[in-house]
Amino acid sequence: MELEPTEAQARIASLARTAAREVLAPAADEGDRTGRFPAEAIRELGRRGLLALKVPRELGGAAAGPVGYALAIMELAQADAAVAVTVAVTNMVGEIIARYGTPAQRERCCPRLASGAWLAGSFALSEPQAGSDSGAMASRADRRGECWVLRGEKAWITSGDHAGVFVVWARTEAGARTKGITAFLVEAGTPGLRVGRREKKTGIRASSTVSLTFDELELPGSAVLGEVHGGFRVAMSALDGGRSGIAAQATGTIAAALAEGTAVARAWEGSAPEAMRFALADTRTDLCAARLLTLRAAALEEAERAFTREASMAKLFASEAAQRAVDVAVRIEGWRGRLAGGSTAARLFRDAKVQTIYEGTSEIQRLVIARDLLR
């Protein structure tokens, strides 16, 4: 048994920590205030090889493996959860293209995502009326000769207004629920792709969230990612890894909240109040548990073993623990007589909320876990 990262994994974490400190941290509060998409930071992360962490080296990625990836996301998220989620989604897109793509698709997309030449990749699964239940999706793709014609809408699409490429899921067989869904690669600028206005969000405000409309969007047959009608599997395999990614992001948020609170306690004149110290002790314990659950899921993924249950446990625990941690950070802000309005603690408080929602709500995680327990 070895619960510490290997040297190679620790090296990726250390690269990410340096980038987080130098590039992300100084701009995080301002990014939250202005909501400006962090294009410069993304390009710099690309230069440092931190954008396509799980993509193979020959495609321009860092080949960090799931554990190295989770450690890196924790570091990035501790500095700025908005940038971390942008990176995580791009990485997820790069990863599934690397896994399911044809050689032509891989060579076209992966190096551009890895370098930052494309600022982001987008994962277009959710719809206004189909979130957790992807089998209910209404977007459809119909054959027209050698081509496919895409119609419908997608919602809550991260980085959609900056993405070079979208993975879009659409129904290719009516009434077949999850068995009639296909994944397609759609490049930005394709005629018929309309990108909606950015959503105004509670948190992770520097990340961008948009809706998409497909208006008779025509795609060549070569745009299919994986197999026709095989899209649900592509989405689900990405979501397991994605859940570890969000668990890592939430773990980073807990670490950030703990750092804020600890700084106040250390600067306290005399000994910090016991109630404050105890709240920090609980946060520290939650941080360790969240980190271990996340790294366990990643280690199983790395060993190519089943990890669906473990990824859901990690995401459920870490995201719920993040809610407690940011609450502690804001209360400690109040302790020293400050309104938390524009503070880092306030940003963390708002950034954490979405972690219990996206890539499967806490309720969905509990269903996934229970299904596995009752099998």
Binding site: L3, E7, A265, R277, T285, A289, E302, E310, R366, I369
Partner: protein, 383 residues
């Protein structure tokens, strides 16, 4: 190179399987009766000794099994799942008695005070707490006064697990009161020593298969060679012992939670309401999912502390986190197990209420949750 690896070694798997089948065959069928009758399971304890579980981390040359801290945590989890009263008897003899004698004892002391204990032929206990000093050990009133080649002990210790049955007590007493915690020393006192008497057994909420009592020392004379470690070293011995003990108690809390969870899961699949098994209802599924998640989190925290101990690096804060989380988790999980059982959870026919009662002590002994938070936050603010 292998990534972070959560696989058990062959030896650790064997320990798990051995303890699991022992728990299923010898402990689970009896735990209910032992709890009701406040019965000390002498035979089961003897068998634990034969299996090498009374000196898990003590090297073979001193009568133990020479296994690592992870194996010990695994053994504690599995035995606790069978009977939490039995597992605390084991925990005290292992962590609180044998480990400090191994670490601080002379070879002569180990011959007399370790070998038969690690082998399970004799039983040890640990006497730190007093009626008026629990968490604050520096306030202890028990004294040990040097007189010629002897020490004379006076005072009392209470809530001493294994006290009613133990052959030897590891006692902490003041040899230099003005020095506070630096004036504490540790002593090995056979329970046959004149001047040592035991009060009647405590009537406890849970872990009722184990006994605890008050020990009274009055003109209790022991030779100087029974002092463990140096004079004034007692507090250090007690604190370093409790670090290891906390891993064991965390694993006990985990084993109790698992007993509750596993029974609740089985019950939820069987029990029908509104025409279908209650396990098909989201409310029940969500409870089970939360229980399983917290159980896994606790186990990882425990294994983390144990792997650090095995590497020989400082693990006080990690052990405290493991114990804090696991013990608080255990009460939540066993309470949900009662909820899933409904009325059957509240009556003694089922195990659910016993697991809940058994879990409660884990937040108190070997450092309350509040003491763990002090340990954790002090380490955090020092970092």
């Amino acid at each position: 190179m292998a990534p972070m690896n959560i696989e058990l070694t062959e030896e650790q798997r064997q320990v798990r399987d051995l303890c699991r089948s022992f728990a299923d065959e010898e402990l689970r069928p009896n735990a209910k009766r032992w709890d009701e009758e406040h019965h000390f399971p002498r035979e089961a304890v003897a068998k634990l000794g034969e299996l090498g579980l009374m000196g898990v981390s003590v090297p073979g040359e001193w009568g133990g099994s020479g296994m690592d801290a992870v194996s010990y945590a695994i053994a504690m989890e599995e035995i606790s799942r069978g009977c939490a009263g039995t597992s605390v008897i084991m925990s005290v003899n292992n962590s609180l008695y044998s480990d400090p004698v191994l670490k601080y004892g002379t070879d002569e002391q180990k011959e007399e005070f370790l070998r038969p204990f690690a082998a399970g032929q004799k039983l040890g206990c640990f006497a730190l707490t007093e009626p008026m000093s629990g968490s604050d050990a520096a306030e202890m009133q028990t004294t040990a006064v040097a007189r010629g080649d002897d020490y004379v002990l006076a005072g009392s210790k209470n809530f001493i697990t294994n006290g009613p049955q133990a052959d030897v007590v590891l006692v902490f007493a003041m040899t230099d009161k003005p020095k506070g915690h630096k004036g504490i020393s540790a002593f090995l006192v056979p329970t046959t020593t004149k001047g040592l008497t035991r009060g009647k057994g405590d009537d406890k909420l849970g872990i009722r298969a184990s006994g605890s009592c008050t020990l009274f020392f009055e003109d209790c004379v022991i030779p100087k060679r029974y002092r463990l470690g140096k004079e004034g070293e007692g507090f250090k011995i007690a604190m370093s012992t409790l670090d290891g003990g906390r891993i064991g108690i965390a694993a006990q809390a985990l084993g109790i939670a698992r007993a509750g969870y596993e029974e609740a899961l089985a019950y939820a699949k069987e029990r029908k309401a509104f025409g279908k098994p209650i396990a098909t209802f989201q409310a029940i599924q969500f409870m089970l999912a939360d229980m399983a998640t917290e159980i896994d989190a606790a186990r990882l925290l425990i294994w983390r502390a144990a792997t650090l101990k095995d590497k020989g690096v400082r693990y006080s804060a990690e052990a405290a986190m493991a114990k804090l989380f696991a013990s608080e988790m255990s009460e939540r999980v066993t309470s949900k197990a009662i909820q899933i059982h409904g009325g059957y959870g509240y009556v003694k026919e089922y195990g659910a209420e016993r697991h809940w009662r058994d879990s409660r002590i884990t937040q108190i002994y070997e450092g309350t949750s509040e003491i763990q938070r002090i340990v954790i936050s002090s380490a955090l603010l020092k970092e």
